[in-house]
């Protein structure tokens, strides 16, 4: 692997980028050089009045405004509102904000109105101009989130994050104010993780809403929310959420380190982050769970896991993740334990069906005809009569047809979807059989596989079964059950070798953790789930205390 890094390809790539950079500096058309140039101009201008360091705010209002306009390219949605208010004397101030990202009502009601109504009469002692900022922050701005801005970069960042900035003539500081607003999607029902019983709210694209959804359900002072900014250009907000008194601090440290190491231009979805921070890249299995349900995140936080929320996507990540989690639904904890145990077992067998059902069909019909019950064998043999392709070709054709239909069904506009499904049903079902391309038994197998792959609650793990299905089919067409068994052993070995932030992927099965088995393929009654997962919550392992009410009742009645 080390050799690869020394390969010339990367070198040429570097050269290419260097070349581009050289070219750009030559043309002096790049943004950076432009701003440098403008700064030179401004410095020349400032030299006449008073010296100002590069990047710092100037006490002269119009200079600041010009510089901001210049750096942003004077966009149409940049609003610069100049106004005056009265302190010791008349003071000019400017309110700068990006129009669609701020709540204009907030701006006018709580900033412009109180400021414009300021009169010197109200003041006990006259306020000098250079203290004006402090004074209005204390007395005039009826807003919660008001912070100082000292540098130009800070100012720009605040503007782009949807804050409004107030600059006052004669002050080398500004104020940034949390007046975020603008159009945002409402909290809606989850679309990818539907439950029958349980909360019906889902995360939205706004990180603030998402954090509030978690806060509202988890009123603990130990809840920690730490912010990061990822993406050199997109400057995406990212937050990790965990319980300080439960979580294993080493895991938090590891997660923080990995997130800080992400150096990329943009982060639009948690999927991108997942690929950066996952342990193993060459695998089909997801190593981080994604969810759009706040209750799932909270449940996992309570088990000592860490939630990762990214602005701009309703899907948040949960780390570390175990394989078994993909077969659990939040509903498991809201329904009775018996039915949820049944459903978990069902989902797991469904995963196995969707993984190996076509392979079993191929192995049986091409190698192990002796294993098919005689009457069924007649049936399958009669159907195979006149099918021109070997079983593997038949299976591959059908599976790929199904994959095509599925992809078409997702990407098609909704109006065309009906047509796709009708044609699909005809092609997959009746017509293919009648044309003698495939046998009816194969249609059943493909059908079962398809339905099975939809029954897995996690889409991520369903896709890994979907991918593995094809190599398994080929192997079982060459080696029969022998090859299938070997391949499954390899898959299990691979699963065992995986780690998610240092926690074995297959735990609590391998290595075995008896306490955690209670909430794995089975779910014991909630009253018996005393401990949190062993590896995750060493600090604070007890989750539930023994429930004594029933015992007391029994004692009373027997007395």
């Amino acid at each position: 692997m080390r050799n690869r890094r020394k390969r010339p390809i990367i070198k040429t790539h570097k050269k290419l980028s260097d070349m581009i950079a050289d070219k750009k500096s030559g043309e002096s058309s790049s943004l950076q050089t432009k701003s440098v140039a403008s700064e030179v101009q401004i410095r020349a201008f400032n030299d006449k009045q008073q010296p100002v360091k590069v990047g710092e705010l100037s006490p002269a209002l119009h200079i600041n405004v010009d510089r901001i306009k210049h750096r942003l390219g004077n966009p149409t949605d940049l609003i610069v509102r100049e106004f005056e208010f009265e302190l010791e004397q008349k003071v000019t101030a400017t309110l700068i904000f990006l129009e669609e990202m701020n709540d204009t009502q907030l701006l006018s009601e709580f900033i412009l109105e109180p400021l414009m109504n300021l009169t010197s009469e109200k003041q006990s002692s006259p306020v000098p101009i250079n203290h004006a900022l402090h004074y209005i922050k204390q007395n005039a701005l009826a807003l919660g989130r008001v912070l100082d801005v000292e540098t130009e970069d800070e100012l720009l960042e605040a503007l782009l994050a949807g804050l409004s900035v107030l600059l006052v003539e004669g002050n080398t500081k500004g104020l940034k104010m949390g007046t975020n607003g603008g159009k945002m999607r409402n909290i809606e029902e989850p679309t990818s993780e539907v439950v029958i019983r349980g909360p019906k709210e889902a995360f939205t694209e706004s990180i603030k809403t998402n954090i509030s959804l978690i806060r509202r359900k988890l009123r603990s002072p130990d809840l920690r929310i730490e912010k990061f900014i990822v993406g050199d250009i997109t400057r995406t907000d990212l937050a990790i959420v965990y319980m300080d008194n439960i979580v294993n601090p080493l895991i938090v440290k590891e997660i923080k380190e990995r997130i800080e190491q992400v150096k990329t231009d943009g982060l639009l979805e948690t999927g991108q982050l997942e690929e950066f921070i996952q342990d193993e890249t060459v695998t089909v299995f997801p190593q981080l769970m994604s969810t759009e349900r706040p209750d799932v995140v909270i449940g996992n936080i309570l088990e000592g896991r860490v939630g990762i929320i990214v602005n701009g996507t309703p899907f948040s990540l949960i780390a570390p993740t175990q394989f078994i989690q993909f077969f659990q639904s939040s509903e498991d904890y809201y329904m009775r334990y018996d039915i949820s145990t049944f459903l978990r077992l069902l989902r797991f067998s469904v995963f196995i069906i969707s993984l190996i059902a076509p392979s079993i069909y191929i192995a049986l019909t091409t190698f192990h005809q002796a294993m098919i019950p005689t009457t069924l064998l007649f049936g399958i043999a009669a159907q195979r009569e006149g099918v021109p392709f070997p079983a593997i070709a038949e299976a591959l054709v059908m599976e790929i047809t199904f994959e095509i239909l599925r992809e078409a069904g997702i990407r098609m506009p909704r109006a065309v979807g009906v047509a796709v499904s009708i044609v699909g049903a005809l092609v997959l079902g009746q017509a293919a059989v009648q044309a003698g391309l495939v046998s009816p038994a194969m249609v059943i197998v493909v059908g079962i596989t398809a339905v099975a792959s939809f029954a897995i609650p996690s889409f991520a793990v369903a896709t890994s079964a979907r991918l593995l299905r094809f190599p398994l089919m080929i192997i079982s067409s060459v080696f029969g059950f022998y090859g299938l068994t070997l391949a499954l052993i390899v898959i299990v070995a691979h699963l065992t070798s995986l780690r998610s932030f240092g926690i074995p992927y297959l735990s609590p099965f391998a290595p075995i953790q008896t306490q955690d088995l209670k909430d794995s393929l089975f779910r014991f009654p909630v009253t018996h789930l005393f401990k949190r997962p062993e590896k995750l919550a060493k600090k604070n392992a007890t989750r539930t205390l023994p429930y004594e009410v029933k015992k007391k009742r029994e004692e009373e009645t027997t007395r």
Binding site: Q369, A370, R384, I474
Partner: protein, 411 residues
């Protein structure tokens, strides 16, 4: 890296250059359901294969037009041994013969009288032939005729025969299912000899081999009949009827059966239904000629009563039990006598003696078992229990008699 560079092409080669050697698509196989083995005058084997035509058997699949085809076809080849004959059959078939689903193998009486050991070896050796394949002997007919017979209910003859064997063992008990495994086991057992079911054709034998056999209400049928007794791989004779059932009593294999017990001179008497039965064998090996104790504990119901008896009285029940015991004891004794006459230990006494006293078996009995077996003294004891009498107690005959009596008394 270099490891990967070597590994990937090699594993790809493994996938596509090896393997597949035992791959068969389903439509390249002829599913053999039954085999028949006969012997011709020169001593060559005549082997018959009954091969299914799946399109005709499978439910819901209509054959591609053009009139009905027969459910099965029969191939016949000759060869010096079984394997040779099997491979020669490829001269006639478009597909490979596939034996894993074969249900029965039928030997001709002629071959059975000469030697069946040779023919058994290939079938026990070949991994494809199942050890559960039923072994039979065609009685008064040839295997090839049996395999050509069209049967009415299960369309494939071999299927039907296997089912008949199973059902009749469970409900009547004059046959034991003898698959190839059990036949070999009884040969290997100390002093043991195999016991193989016979099969014959009843009804119009010429009609049997035509598809018209389906269309008549009373078609020719295959029928399991008796069990062949062997001695050193040669068929010596047949056990029929109650004699054959004696074997099942002795082996403790009776699941259910019906025994007729006479009453008060009425031969029809009672029909006693056996529900379950337990057999205990023990041997005393003190003397040079051992004695064997057979104890049978059947549990029974009264299924039919043709004489006026008051079944409400426990004493009557006890009487019936006693009579039943006698009938069974006679049946078993008769079977043992028959086996001793053939001098063929089909019951498994040899194995019993070996287990009881292995040292003495090896030292004394084994050498002279031929002489000893016919002289073995067998004490048979049957201890039956009648548990139920159906949904009525006394037969209506008895109640009628009672009424008559009462009428006589009152008048």
């Amino acid at each position: 890296m270099s490891f990967l560079k070597c590994f990937v092409p090699f594993s790809l080669c493994l996938l596509f250059l090896t393997g597949c050697w035992d791959q068969n698509e389903l439509d390249e196989l002829s599913i053999v359901m039954g085999m028949g083995i006969n012997i011709d005058k020169k001593g060559d084997l005549i082997v018959t294969y009954q091969v299914v035509n799946p399109t005709e058997v499978a439910p819901g699949v209509s054959g591609g037009g053009g009139g009905k085809q027969p459910v099965f076809t029969v191939y016949e080849t000759k060869g010096k041994n079984l394997m040779e004959a099997t491979r020669k059959a490829t001269k006639q078939t478009s597909r490979r013969l596939f034996f894993a689903h074969a249900r029965m193998v039928v030997f001709s009486e002629k071959l059975a009288k000469e030697n069946i050991y040779e023919a058994l070896d290939m079938m026990s050796r070949d991994p494809e032939v199942r050890s559960t394949i039923q072994v039979l002997i065609a009685r008064n007919t040839t295997p090839s005729k049996i395999l050509r017979t069209f049967t009415a209910i299960d369309k494939v003859t071999s299927d039907e025969v296997a089912a008949i064997l199973r059902i009749s063992e469970k409900n009547w008990g004059e046959n034991v299912q003898q698959d190839i495994n059990e036949v070999l086991q009884s040969i290997i057992n100390e002093g043991g000899e195999p016991l193989i079911n016979g099969i014959e054709i009843t009804g119009d034998k010429d009609l049997a081999v035509t598809a018209k056999n389906y269309e008549v209400g009373d078609p020719a049928r295959v029928k399991v009949s008796g069990m062949g007794v062997f001695k050193k791989g040669k068929l010596k004779g047949w056990l029929d009827g109650p004699e054959a059932r004696g074997i099942l009593w002795l082996r403790g294999k009776i699941v259910s059966s019906v025994v007729t017990v006479p009453c008060k001179g009425n031969k029809k008497g009672y029909a006693i239904e056996v529900v379950r039965s337990n057999t205990e064998l023990s041997a005393s090996t003190k003397r040079d000629v051992p004695t064997i104790n057979v104890e049978v504990f059947p549990e029974t119901n009264i299924a039919e009563t043709n004489c006026p008896v008051n079944l409400e009285k426990p004493s009557e029940i006890l009487k019936i039990e006693k009579m039943f015991n006698n009938v069974i004891e006679k049946e078993i004794t008769k079977t043992i006598k028959a086996a001793q006459n053939f001098n063929s230990d089909v019951i498994g006494f040899g194995e019993l003696l070996y287990r009881e006293n292995p040292e003495k078996w090896n030292r004394v009995y084994k050498k002279n078992y031929n002489r000893i077996f016919p002289e073995i003294q067998v004490k048979v004891k049957v201890d039956s229990r009648i548990r139920r009498s159906g949904i009525r107690t006394s037969p209506f005959l008895f109640e009628k008699n009672q009424e008559n009596k009462e009428e006589v008394e009152s008048s």
